[in-house]
Subunit: 149 residues, 2 copies
DNA sequence: CAGTATCCTACGTGATACTG
DNA sequence: CAGTATCACGTAGGATACTG
């Protein structure tokens, strides 16, 4: 009676959830994207159990999202691969949603800014082929070849 | 030895995960956004256990993401609230990531298109305050008031 | 059709001690 | 510091039957 894997679901969302859908995965990825790259650092930062962290790091490395390497001092550290950095839109979308819908009375928590200008980036949103921002009710799903049989 | 809640974490990402981080939640939300709004429809579509679906629907409704109402025939159905629709960027980001990194040999699965033009939307990405697309290495996090103490 | 009600299991998670 | 090794636990998740 194993957990049902989403692998057979032929749905990109399910595939993604299958890889980064565990409770801690995205938080670990966020920490590493912030430069918290050592085991103990991450462990303290998140308060996650050591064995869980170990398991997740291994799994994410196998999935090609993280890369394990030695830092200048010879200590192990984890870095995001390009595949891992590609998750930034996911992290940012969730962060923006939390900012808006589960705010802190004290104000913003983390703001992502453009390094050049220092101005905050736009909240994550949908853009049409020309780059104009559009609304969720302006789009519709269409089934591609993989779903037409 | 309960599961550690992310509530105290003062992190928007954790807050979001606390609400939609369960394995099935985002898949249920996607189904409903596609117009699969009845209990049995969702259940068959996802193959999720009925009691799990029941629990999740209740939880998401309480969280203000879903709204339960009767359709024209008097049957119960679930709809996304505005708060729920605000999760579209999350769903789309994950879907696009899956498209790219866990592709199907048969080609695309679901493509989201602009209703007006029929052209696919842009893959979800980061945009600066002017609306220009920028890269993940062009941004940096800054700590807001809620984290400065 | 839209759930509830049971019963069951294994996985995700946690605490802590230990090792090179 | 970077894990591994145990041991324990609860809950998410699953199968199925039942009800209005």
């Amino acid at each position: 009676m194993k957990l049902k894997s989403f692998k057979g679901m032929n749905c990109s969302l399910a595939q993604t959830l299958n890889i980064v859908g565990e409770r801690w995965s995205l938080l670990i990825i966020r920490d590493i994207s912030f430069g918290t790259t050592h085991f103990d650092e991450i462990q303290k930062s998140l308060g996650v159990a050591r064995n869980m962290l170990s398991t997740r790091l291994k799994q994410l490395t196998e999935a090609g999202i993280l890369r394990k390497e030695a830092d200048d001092a010879g200590r192990s550290q984890y870095k995001l691969t390009d595949k891992g950095w590609d998750l930034m839109p996911v992290l940012l979308s969730m962060t923006h949603w939390g900012d808006k819908h589960v705010p802190d009375e004290a104000g913003d928590r983390v703001v992502f800014v453009d390094q050049k200008t220092g101005r905050p980036i736009q909240p994550m949103g949908i853009h049409d082929a020309d780059g104009s921002r559009i609304n969720y009710y302006d789009i519709k799903p269409e089934f591609g070849p993989a779903l037409r049989r």
